[in-house]
Symmetry: C2
Subunit: 421 residues, 2 copies
Amino acid sequence: MSERIYATYFIETPYPVDRAAEVMAGEQSSGTFTRLANETDQLRANHGAIVERIEPLESVDAPSLPMRPLQGGGDSPRYQRANVTLSWPIANLGPSLPNLMSTIAGNLFELKEFSALKLLDLTLPMSFAKAYPGPQFAIEGTRQLTGIADRPLIGTIIKPSVGLSPQQTAEVVEQLVEGGIDFIKDDELQANGPHNPLKARVDAVMPVINAHAERTGRKVMYAFNITGDIDEMRDHHDYVAKAGGSCVMVAVNSVGLSGVTHLRRHCRLALHGHRAGWGLYSRSPYIGMSFIAYQKLWRLAGVDHIHVNGLRNKFSEPDDSVIASARGCLTPMFEPPAPGCEVMPVFSSGQTALQAVDTYRTIGSTDLIFCAGGGIMAHPGGIGAGVRSLRQAWDAAVQGVRLEDYATEHHELAQALEAFR
Amino acid sequence: MSERIYATYFIETPYPVDRAAEVMAGEQSSGTFTRLANETDQLRANHGAIVERIEPLESVDAPSLPMRPLQGGGDSPRYQRANVTLSWPIANLGPSLPNLMSTIAGNLFELKEFSALKLLDLTLPMSFAKAYPGPQFAIEGTRQLTGIADRPLIGTIIKPSVGLSPQQTAEVVEQLVEGGIDFIKDDELQANGPHNPLKARVDAVMPVINAHAERTGRKVMYAFNITGDIDEMRDHHDYVAKAGGSCVMVAVNSVGLSGVTHLRRHCRLALHGHRAGWGLYSRSPYIGMSFIAYQKLWRLAGVDHIHVNGLRNKFSEPDDSVIASARGCLTPMFEPPAPGCEVMPVFSSGQTALQAVDTYRTIGSTDLIFCAGGGIMAHPGGIGAGVRSLRQAWDAAVQGVRLEDYATEHHELAQALEAFR
């Protein structure tokens, strides 16, 4: 039995669900709008996508996405919802991430038969685990690089996102490392603009990180945002590595699958994946892709960390979705002996000391990076106090103590609770 | 006055529109959820995004995308729609396509203030035209490579999409070139799968193309689908070039901006851009990106052709959208003396001889590639007759003759009208 790729979709259609599912399967494999003489039964058997499973859901009386009027469907058709699983033989595309995208998330989104079509999940055969390196450092490697064994990495984003000079960035970094931060990242908007070029930023920031590491024996991880063209990213990666940095960041949607895969193969540092633009995939319940499917693509491409928002974030994502996303990152993609490709979920977006206890309670793991931008930078006691308030909040969380109780003996946490409540 | 980037969005929000627009501008530049001490007035003035224009539209009584309940908005808020234009200084990001994506199509899609947010249009400053090569062959170069001066390129997609062997593919190509085709492309599902590897396909197909060119002096353009990892795409490009091919194809969404840009810089052949996955950007009116904005990114990255569906296509896209998309491809992106970066729109998806007259009438140009898969392969007279029916249909279109009238003296067209009506 040859290997197959499985993908599950949420669909809505005014046509009979089994017929609509066959249209999806046909469009994404050997079929077209009319049957051809050379589309033999043998060819279909070997290369056609298969409708593996249909789970009917509710029906609704109006299409969720605009679509053409149903042909011959009468005046008021019903729109049936279902979860549908298709499968493809690996012979069609081989273990190729970009071609996987064209197959599972390509033309089918446009099919006129559907008033909703969203990719929910994805199961890849072992040949993908062999073809792609997956995360290089992942959870354990990130812990080794930072020297943080048994608690979340407390992180922050340089703010303001853009506008600081390299020297001003380094001054913020100085305060952060003095405050005890574990992880710092550039904002996704700050890459290599003329106001703060990457190399000038590395030149300003790394001496601060390195001097702190000399003093303390612990190197703070700084994720330099090297998002850019291919040769630029390679060059910038090498520059960060040479300066003693331990991490580079890319906005994965902005770079794309081929670019991230290429960078990973070249990379000697931890690769921090930012998902800027994720709302385009996630905001509509009726088109797009679940994070459960999405993060598997980027894990295989080789990121070590990926963003999942955070509880009570400043965006539109509900908490249950954040929790499911973080758990997804920590769930193996392949059976042993293949690597599980687990990566560190990155919590961020409006995070402060307030969310630590609930985050730990719901995720049940400390294998995560907990990033606060304003939650550190806007702490009334200053940046160092902001960092300490987060460390204290996580200490309370792991010890199972209420934040309010812990705050009675931890001043910075008390300040944070008052400022951000 | 330094250069600025302009982007226009359709938005919907239960908050006052001007406040919501400021949230967008802040999130995508120097702001975060709380104002920081180091976000000085000077920094804001130099780096903050500016709300340039707000055009209020209608309001609705329910949010178009799921969003959190409005804080303090009462029981039944109205959701105001508007078109909003923001601008950014180039100093923030420099002329970088991936970082442009993070800026104009990044986190803002997730903002909790919006129940709809779609990127409608984009205007880039001249530094982008200097930083990126844009299309290499574009319209004139494609005409020179194919020897077709003054009519559309009649094209086809190898069907079945997947499942043919390299030799079977070459046999189809033989019939197509004998039938007088101008352009042939691999399906977006057929790249380098083990059943039909790219190099074996080149080895089988190019002798047919080259032999035909020797006989006729006219080289049919075959767009080999080299979608894949970076090194693989470079290698495959070189292989196609060495075999005498004139075009390679990539699924642009699957590869991503950095990968396509990199390939373009390496490329000596026409670069055919397939937009598989476009439905993810386009299907919802409330999230995503218009093709008018989208195609500018890929033109600057360097594709020579890009897909726009076709009239009465097999997908969900309405005809007026197809027409606007094709016109967009033919509209200059920059003022002279910078290159306009116009590219050839590729019509496809359920196209047959039936759509030629209306396509020419509505586009008013022959600067396009008109692709029919089933419309050629399923022609009752066979593949050669299918090609001839399309040539005849376009001759009729350009001469301003009705298809039915032209069909009285053109048998293959008559057969097509009967078969596909």
